[in-house]
């Protein structure tokens, strides 16, 4: 365009061409600034720190190569690390299964219209608005050994948050409760997109409810479910607040998730190098899982 206008002086023309080249980047500038300073730079700095011994101000003092990693994986702190790994894997497994089940059940419950339908949907979606820290405070009271609601209902005196048999389980339940909202929102939207005539023709062919669920709902829902599994797994891996507020990783490290152990390492024991190494390991795990899931998607997800 600019070249055609012979009336404008060439200097202005050039300026304009240059400006049009630069303009897209001007729009991106604020975003890129934030990402560079608070995401890309710290990410590489974490990698860098993970190969150093640090002082308590987090300054890199001596290059140690992979010693931090070796310490965690096979050395002096390996027992604690593998324990936290095992806790995290079980936690992610149960919370993902629980969250998905709650999402599917609640979505099916409101699938057909009935009086109170809108109210029930609002309630099922509500946990997305609730802070996990505030919810943890409520649960702290509900689970209290002498005056808590749960013990009152069951007529027991169980110390839910400090008994190795129960603590992990109740933490999982709280996480599932919190995850219900987002699972419900995505899965119920996915269900609404399934064409109604599929069910009708299946009914005509005499399919029962279970057959319809197995052969229509689940396959048609598989893209949504696949997406939701990734979200759930990533969220569960990063759960921190409820552990910090309710159990501090105890009792006997039974809820010491890898994320909480990173927090302890860095901000309680000031071993920033070692904590950085743990973070990088966690990052790699999440990345590998996401990639595996995308691989698996190609094989098993059904797109109509």
């Amino acid at each position: 365009m600019a070249e055609i206008r012979t009336s404008s002086p060439p200097a202005r023309n050039l300026k304009r061409i240059v400006y049009e080249r630069v303009e897209p980047w001007l729009f991106l500038l604020p975003a890129l600034a934030v990402f560079s300073i608070f995401l890309f730079y710290p990410f590489f700095k974490t990698m860098y720190l993970s190969t150093f011994l640090t002082n308590k101000y987090g300054e890199a003092k001596a290059f140690v190569g992979f010693k931090n990693y070796a310490d965690i994986l096979v050395g002096g702190r390996s027992r604690e690390f593998w324990n936290s790994m095992w806790v995290t894997i079980r936690f992610v497994f149960f919370v993902t299964i629980g969250g998905l089940s709650m999402g599917i059940i609640t979505s099916m419950l409101i699938d057909k219209k009935f009086p109170g339908n809108a109210f029930a949907s609002a309630i099922f979606a509500m946990p997305i608005a609730i802070a996990s820290s505030a919810a943890s405070m409520s649960f702290k009271m509900i689970l209290h050994p002498s005056i808590g609601l749960l013990n009152k209902i069951l007529g027991t005196q169980i110390n839910w948050l400090n008994d190795i048999r129960y603590t992990f389980g109740v933490i999982c339940c709280l996480a599932v409760w919190l995850a219900t909202g987002i699972n419900f929102i995505f899965i119920s939207a996915g269900m609404r997109n399934i064409p109604e005539d599929l069910y009708e023709s299946a009914s005509i062919d005499g399919a029962n409810a279970w057959q319809k669920f197995k052969s229509i709902t689940i396959p048609c829902l598989s893209p949504t479910l696949f997406f939701q599994v990734i979200i759930d797994v990533i969220n569960a891996f990063q759960t921190f607040n409820i552990v910090k507020i309710l159990t501090l990783g105890g009792p006997m490290e039974s809820t010491n998730t890898i994320v909480y152990s990173i927090y302890l390492d860095a901000f309680r024991n000031f071993r920033f190098g070692s904590a950085a190494a743990r973070s990088i390991i966690l990052f790699l795990i999440i990345m590998v899982i996401t990639l595996i899931q995308f691989r698996a998607e190609k094989r098993s997800v059904h797109y109509s």
Partner: protein
């Protein structure tokens, strides 16, 4: 091969009766799940209004005692924490609406070299867990003497991949001709964004805003790490630090939980449709 008329005969009910039966059954099965989600909140509310002498043995108060709410606002630092949360969450929301709109505009309306590469790089950051950056970020802001300020709570959240992605998804639904026509009329890209694109994308922006505000209002770890004084502490930290088990404190603590839930639940109630549609737009088309 059975068909529907057979099962109707077997149960001996007309179609209409069966529908009514199913509807009531549906309501009945919904009830326990609705309760499951609601009970923790109802219980929290009950505990906040139970008179102190009934706390240990009653669930339903003989009368509603709201004095602890008064105490939350007069005797604790919670009002200040709420103000701080509003300042921080509001600023982050505003900032992200601006930065994400601008970036999304560039990615969807403008053509330039490296556009896809940069966009993929930004999307890839969604996979990076916060643990991988939070340690270094903490060390950085500590070195800059940013601890205990508002900007340390605001600036790191000044933009988000999710926000850019959502806004871009929305902008892609705009007709390209709109942009071309505006350009031919001599409208600059900045003016086009501010006077045409932004007003037309109010629902998407609203959804994004509500999402960001909720996220910030509920943020816990970062404020916990970088603040240590009541002047800048946000409400989640304030509430979480109130745990104590003597009876007066239980009322107070549960009232504080309710108070800090009110803003986020109101946003949820008023923005529910918009928020859910906005989130879905990102997920389904992505």
């Amino acid at each position: 091969m059975t068909n529907t008329s057979v099962s109707a005969q077997r149960t001996g009910l007309t179609r209409r009766q069966r529908n009514t039966l199913w509807t009531s059954l549906r309501m009945l099965i919904n009830l326990p799940f609705v309760l499951l989600i609601m009970v923790p909140l109802l219980y929290t509310f009950m505990m906040s209004v139970l008179p102190a002498d009934e706390l240990y043995y009653r669930l339903w108060p003989s009368h509603f005692d709201f004095t602890s709410y008064l105490l939350v606002f007069t005797k604790t630092k919670i009002p200040r924490h709420i103000l701080n949360s509003f300042i921080v969450a509001g600023s982050v929301t505003l900032l992200q609406m601006i930065t994400c709109s601008m970036a999304a505009f560039s990615f969807s309306f403008l053509n330039f070299k490296g556009r896809n590469v940069v966009f993929m790089c930004i999307l890839a950051t969604m996979m990076v867990p916060w643990e991988a950056t939070i340690i270094s970020n903490y060390l950085t802001v500590a070195k800059w003497n940013w601890l205990d300020t508002y900007h340390v709570l605001i600036l790191p959240y000044g933009c988000s991949a999710m926000g850019i992605f959502l806004m871009r998804q929305h902008y892609l639904t705009f007709a390209k001709e709109l942009h071309e026509a505006a350009r031919l009329d001599g409208c600059s890209n900045w003016r086009f964004l501010a006077t045409i694109v932004v007003p037309l994308s109010r629902p998407a922006l609203g959804a994004l805003g509500a999402y960001i505000f909720l996220q910030q209002w509920n943020n816990y770890l970062w404020p916990l790490l970088v603040t240590s004084t009541d002047n800048v502490r946000t409400v989640q930290i304030g509430v979480a630090s109130m745990y104590d088990i003597d009876s007066e404190q239980i009322n107070l603590m549960m009232s504080a939980v309710i108070v800090c839930l009110v803003p986020s639940l109101s946003i949820f109630v008023f923005m529910q449709k918009n928020l859910i549609n906005g989130l879905m737009a990102g997920a389904v088309k992505g």
